[in-house]
Symmetry: C2
Subunit: 141 residues, 2 copies
Amino acid sequence: MDSEELRNAGLKVTIPRLKILSLLENSAERHMTAETVYRLLAEGGEVIGLATVYRALAQFEAAGLITRHHFDSGQTVYELERGPHHDHIVCIRCGRVEEFYDKVIEERQREIAASLGFTLSDHALTLYGECNSPDCPGHQG
Amino acid sequence: MDSEELRNAGLKVTIPRLKILSLLENSAERHMTAETVYRLLAEGGEVIGLATVYRALAQFEAAGLITRHHFDSGQTVYELERGPHHDHIVCIRCGRVEEFYDKVIEERQREIAASLGFTLSDHALTLYGECNSPDCPGHQG
DNA sequence: TGCTCAAACGATAATGATTCTCAATATAGA
DNA sequence: TCTATATTGAGAATCATTATCGTTTGAGCA
Ligand SMILES: [Zn+2]
Ligand SMILES: [Zn+2]
Ligand SMILES: [Zn+2]
Ligand SMILES: [Zn+2]
């Protein structure tokens, strides 16, 4: 249950936090900005202060429940931590985000860091390109 | 000469642009924010409006003279385009930035994009870790 | 060299995202 | 239920970046 997750993270169980966590768990789009979280909740009739949304997301991140990405769009994008690590590819036309995991790249990263005298703790890899979805505005056909 | 670069980029040759370009070329630190450019110029006695710095950097980027990065720190970091493509590793303690190029990773990226139905146009790869420089505040020694 | 005019400059206002403030409110535990 | 404390939300504040606009400058030409 979501209440458990919050308690395990050392956070009080409050309505706003439960609503935000639930939204992150149940939305089709896994990657969203704070504004998007705020807007989707509002559209669902759950008006939660924007400041509270930002605070909750920051706390969730500190607790390891969610991760934060900085795509080239500028705004910070949050994503519920579920399953194993993955990286992203973003369509520069329609914004669609797909996920991937590549063992070869992950291994090379460790080797590169070591060879440069760094102890690797994290990485951010995002590919940008044009997708071939029929819904993408630039789609041919 | 820098004037040539500006002319080739279709930009008028002005004092501020020459100063900014020169700073990017001659600084030991190759990666800097707009604020840093502004500050370093000011410290060198060249007071150039911050708006002008931002404008020049945007124009240089559009002309392909410099590239722009979004490290997790938040601020946009600019870097003079010289030599071939490379990615970055950033020390999370002291902020030191090192560059690397890995053919294997570059190739895998193309394969991954293709397999997901994307036409790859760009990518951003940044590793984060702790460096072993004696100057790094976390250095053991 | 001096003239003209669009382009560029710089001070400052505006914007957009995010964080802070603080009085009112809700939660966890006794 | 009662209390002490953490959280909330509205709005102010902040930070990076961009837009505005009157003044200045560079490039081509007489
Ligand atoms: Zn698309
Ligand atoms: Zn993801
Ligand atoms: Zn370091
Ligand atoms: Zn670099």
